[in-house]
Amino acid sequence: MNSEGKDTFSILNQILTFLVEGKINLALEKFGKMEEELGSQISNPEFIANFREFIQQYHEGAVFLREIANGNLDVSPPADPKRHNYSITQFKQLHSNLLHLTWQTQQIAKGDLKQKVSFLGEFSIGFNKMIESLREKKLMEEQIVLQLDELQKLNAEKDKFFSIIAHDLRNPFVAFLGFTELMAENFDSYTLTEIHEMANDLKTSAQNLHALLENLLEWSRIQRGMIGINTESFLLLPKITEILLSVNESAEKKNISVIIDVPKDLSIKADINMLASTVRNLATNAIKFTPQGGMVTVAAVLGENQSIQFSVSDSGIGMNKALLQKLFRMNEHTSRPGTEGEPSTGLGLLLCKDFVEKQGGRIWVESEEGQGSTFFFTIPQK
């Protein structure tokens, strides 16, 4: 620089002053004029070339920072044709960090709360704390949603319980009370045959009430988590035969044949009470929805994956698709009277589902309206 003349030094000083004052355009203009005016006097062209590149990079750097400050990340960092300017590299790094940070915020907005920012010191700490806080909030929200689901389920169970108390239990009681009132008030005017018929009706009504109360009690105990599984191994055929004794009377009344199709040597490991309740409920339903003279078959086979597969099929009235979709669901009204007006609540199927699933099995149904129904369930043998 010392080799340049005083004029050159003075002009360069003016250019630097413009740069310091932020008047880049004036600096560029002055530099252009200087080259024109002093072209022949410049003895060190490399110095001038470096100075020109410095101004150019300073200018591009200033433009870049202005755009970044205005939030425009589509701007390019200053060019560095000689690729040795450490400052330019830092501009690129800043640009890269800001682009990546923008991408990270977009990811966070999409719900990816695993992102972590690793530059800009205190900003990173604050930003990462904010994400952590969002993550905790999201977890809490998820827990609230789960609890809300649980509450809705409990509420549906409560509604079902009150619905059964209010309707299904009340109606048979009304009939029961009606019979007893008639007998108490007019006993002397009835013949022995009429009293016998009334006593039979009372018995049927009492049996239905008893069955309903039993189911209600069991269901209530399940909901309160009071029923544990107590598995044991036993031969299936004698147990099924014993369980079905309790439905014989209702089957005989409708002249329905109950067939048991279980291999003699088939044994099972299961909770006897749960299995008995499931088979009894399914067989009771099958008889309920089968007209006079029909047939109900209770079968069991060794199915896939060492599971015992049960089926309870009937030649009854079957179900349409709409009703099929509502079965086994707490919040759906599925009760309908049997073919001879037998009461039904839908509670028995909910019990069956709970008992089967508690033992690791599954339950499903195949049915067509007017073509009978078959309920299947499995009990895995671990």
Partner: protein, 174 residues
């Protein structure tokens, strides 16, 4: 590993490294990896010329990317999780620090950087981008994940004076 000319790379050809190197383990010095890559480049360039050599590295990288994706990455993930999975694995294998700068899933266009890149970080300025193998590697991963073809171009590299490798990933035009 077979020795006939119809050799087709399989992941199993990498062998059971833990079994074979109970003391030395799975890691080696980066210089050894680069020694192999750059001496191979030297020999190939002398025999094939620079253009063919570049294509050779891109093709080899592509094959490596496909196999890496098949055997190491979880292709069942959505793109965002796949990106995170890829970044984790590149870090775990010491390949580099992957960061996304832009991702346009509609256009399948991406801008990403790989810091501390295995191939080139720390190389002196030469005016040339070195990471042809990485270009192919990224294209291979993206192809395996999307079943689409990509063109990957390294736009910044230690070889060109930058401190981070930057790759533009676009759908192939044809």
């Amino acid at each position: 590993m077979t020795t006939n000319s119809k050799y087709n790379f399989k992941w199993e050809d990498l062998g059971d490294i833990r079994l074979g190197r109970p003391n030395l383990g799975t890691n080696t010095h980066v210089a050894v990896y680069r020694l192999m890559q750059y001496t191979m480049r030297d020999v190939l360039e002398k025999q094939l010329g620079p253009d063919k050599t570049n294509l050779f590295f891109i093709d080899a990288g592509f094959k490596a990317g496909v196999e890496f994706c098949k055997n190491i990455l979880d292709c069942t993930l959505g793109f965002d999780d796949f990106g995170a999975n890829l970044a984790d694995k590149l870090l775990e294998f010491g390949i580099g620090v992957l960061r996304f700068e832009k991702a346009d899933l509609e256009k399948m266009s991406f801008l990403l950087t790989v810091g501390e890149d295995l191939d080139c970080s720390g190389l002196p300025y030469s005016g040339v981008a070195f990471c042809d193998y990485d270009e192919g590697f990224i294209a291979g991963i993206m192809h395996q994940y999307t079943n689409l073809n990509f063109e990957v171009k390294e736009i910044d590299c230690w070889g060109t004076g930058d401190r981070t490798c930057r790759f533009a990933v676009e759908l192939a035009k044809s």
